[in-house]
């Protein structure tokens, strides 16, 4: 199950390089800071800091970004507990019982529960990842260009159909992103869509485009927000009570384990991730608990279920990204872009040939989870002040930082111009409920999808019957059709139900 040679190399890699560790604490702090600010998402924080990783080595860069990811996971739960406002969409279910606990004066206990569940969730998902990497790498290496093409399209379809309110809007966002990803010269040497602009020959600059779509667009949406939180009372933080909450969580091992499993599975499906897993885990915990009727009224089990699931989704999303090179959402899309920035192609060949690096990333995440314990405890003292940062200063400042970041990539104005154009497109897409993450993933996968389709065409000589010789591809296609039909059906049923409820009221 575990390749011990590669694991040993991973330890050597981490123990001989200080640079791999030096960015963990700053990454966690950045994640906690941005995660605790409602309206500023995990992906936004990662996108803003992505250009900075260009000047780091590959492993420290990935560790820095995953530290932001880990920190933001818990950061989002702090305002959820203290102020009933989820810092990120993954902390929605945390508010259901976290805030009622706060109202009862049990906010320290709730924070302790959230912190321990987050840490255990992250740890368990990466332990699982450590065990499945070796067998998964054997399977994914057998995938040819047709299978990779179908998997990428499946991921995009899921992302387009599950994220957002409307399937056509989701799929339009995904196909638009995919087309953008093919601009420039393709692998057969044809140049399209450059409008005579020389820097588009290599394609749309991915990182500034992602920063525009994921970060700058959301900042423009916040222009009319004065403070994130304006009139909530400050609550007194007690370390002793937080630690009591921390200990209390160990009484609910089954809920943590169920939350972690739900998180890993849901996290590995493109388009779903932690924003759904926390809700699903919460409803499962409520359904199975003998005191289910007290959920929503300050039941600690609700906080544990939500937090263990949202933090373990990270490991699930990382598994899909590392094994298949398919990002399931904005955060893993940014990680994949960081791979590309260091001239490393994520996916089957990476996982097979660089298992030491994969294990190093996993081990570093164990350390991140444990460090989060300490840093998270200190952070809750400041969190209630952070959400009071005036947005009138924050928005223009972060926009300018993003612009500098995009300029830092190659020292030309191609980055800032791309960032600004995609900020406007992203703002309009968010305004009309298009899932921007689908466009981002499409943009990243465009080249890969076209390259694999082209290779399939060349191998098969254009004969569609070639697909019949690839049972793996047929199986994935069948899964794709079934999952898409199911998600379309459930979305239609939900809308009909909502329509009926509106009519009845």
């Amino acid at each position: 199950m575990i390749n011990f040679d590669a694991l040993g190399d991973a330890f050597t890699l981490l123990s001989t390089s200080w640079s791999a560790w030096v960015f963990v604490i700053p990454g966690l702090l950045v994640g906690l800071f941005f995660g605790s600010m409602p309206g500023i998402s995990i992906t936004m924080a990662m996108a803003i800091f992505l250009p900075m990783t260009l000047y780091m080595d590959f492993l420290p860069a990935i560790i820095f970004l995953t530290s932001i990811y880990t920190g933001a996971g818990f950061g989002g739960s702090v305002p959820a507990v203290l102020m009933n406002i989820p810092g990120t969409s993954s902390a929605v279910a945390t508010t259901f019982d976290g805030y009622p606990m706060s109202r009862q004066g049990r906010h320290n206990e709730a924070l302790g529960l959230a912190l321990s569940s987050s840490v255990i969730g992250t740890l368990s998902s990466y332990i699982l990842l450590m065990f499945i990497i070796e067998p998964v790498s054997g399977v994914v290496l057998k995938m040819g260009p047709l299978e990779l093409f179908v998997v990428a399209i499946w991921g995009l379809m899921l992302l387009g159909s599950l994220a957002g309110d409307s399937i056509p809007r989701g799929l339009l966002a995904g196909t638009f992103g995919l087309l953008l990803g093919t601009v420039g010269m393709n692998s057969a040497g044809y140049i399209r869509g450059t409008m005579g602009i020389p820097w588009l020959l290599d394609g749309v600059p991915t990182i500034p485009a992602m920063m525009g779509l994921l970060a700058a667009s959301q900042l423009l949406n916040l222009v009319n927000t004065r403070h994130l939180i304006e009139d909530e009372d400050l609550r007194k933080i007690s370390l002793k009570k937080i630690l009591n909450g921390f200990r209390e969580s160990f009484q609910f091992k089954t809920i943590i384990a169920r939350g972690a499993i739900i998180g890993v599975i849901i996290g590995s499906i493109p388009g779903v991730g932690s924003s759904i897993s926390n809700l699903l885990s919460y409803s499962e915990a409520k359904r199975n608990a003998p005191d289910g009727d007290t959920f929503g009224k300050g039941n600690p089990k609700g906080v544990i279920a939500a937090e263990s699931a949202n933090s373990s989704s990270e490991g699930g999303a990382m598994a899909t990204m590392l094994a298949l090179g398919i990002p399931g959402g904005g955060a893993t899309a940014i990680l994949l872009a960081a791979f590309a920035m260091h001239n490393i192609v994520g996916g089957p060949s990476f996982i097979a040939n660089n298992q030491d690096i994969v294990y190093a990333i996993i081990i570093s995440n164990f350390a991140q989870a444990l460090l989060l314990l300490v840093i998270g405890l200190g952070f809750v003292y400041f969190a209630s002040y952070i959400v009071r940062v005036p947005m009138r200063y924050l928005i223009p400042s972060v926009l300018v930082v993003a612009l500098f970041g995009s300029y830092a990539i190659d020292g030309t104005s191609s980055g800032p111009i791309t960032l600004a154009v995609f900020a406007v497109i992203g703002w309009a897409m968010v305004r009309y409920n298009y899932p921007v993450a689908a466009a981002v993933v499409g943009l990243i996968l465009g080249n890969l999808v076209e390259g694999n389709l082209l290779r399939t065409y060349q191998i098969s000589g254009g004969d569609p019957a070639y697909a019949l010789e690839r049972p793996g591809a047929l199986f994935i296609m069948a899964l794709m059709v079934i999952s898409f039909s199911l998600s379309a059906f459930s979305k239609m049923r939900r809308k009909r139900k909502e329509g009926a409820a509106m009519g009845a009221s």
Binding site: S166, V223, Y393, P396, V400, V401
Partner: protein, 162 residues
């Protein structure tokens, strides 16, 4: 079934679809003008056609029937519509416009002057009415950014004053 109420057009959504549709169509035509060989069009052509079909499916959602006063609204049928006031929308427009100008012209103007001006304007539009605080923060933040980023990246920033 009797349908009452006026049709409300989401002009912004319509504009977004027009931009996306024009971009997709222009890209398809450009790709076809480059070469009609399969190696060129294998993905771009079918994806462009699919995107245009999806766009036509979304198009009717730009026209929403507003129920007459007193009638129940059918919110479930369509995604929520944005609800900013014209002033709020104008503020977003000003910050966005200034951001685009900054991105396009900061090399010509000089990063220091361009960034400082954007910050002053942006902070004012976002609600700060204390000019001293605004100008002091913008000046300090601009200097910090230019010297901070200048220390870590190998490219020089075109500057006018600093």
């Amino acid at each position: 079934m009797q349908k009452t109420g006026k049709i409300k057009v989401q002009w912004g959504h319509l504009a977004l679809l027009a931009v996306l549709g024009t971009a997709i169509l222009a890209y398809l035509l450009d790709a076809r003008a480059t070469s009609l060989r399969t190696n060129n069009l294998i993905l771009v052509q079918p994806m462009s056609i699919l995107a245009l079909i999806l766009l036509l499916m979304v198009l009717p959602q730009c026209f929403q029937r507003v129920p007459p006063a007193g009638a129940e609204e059918d919110h479930a049928a369509l995604p929520a519509t944005p609800k900013e006031t014209p002033i709020e929308l104008a503020k977003i427009g000003v910050v966005t416009g200034a951001f685009i100008l900054l991105a396009f012209f900061m090399e010509q103007i000089g990063f220091d002057i361009a960034v400082f001006s954007f910050l002053v304007l942006g902070i004012f539009v976002c609600g700060e009415r204390n000019w001293i605080a605004n100008i002091a923060f913008s000046a300090v933040f601009t200097a910090l950014l230019i010297y901070g980023y200048g220390a870590i990246i190998p490219f020089p920033f075109p500057l006018a004053v600093l």
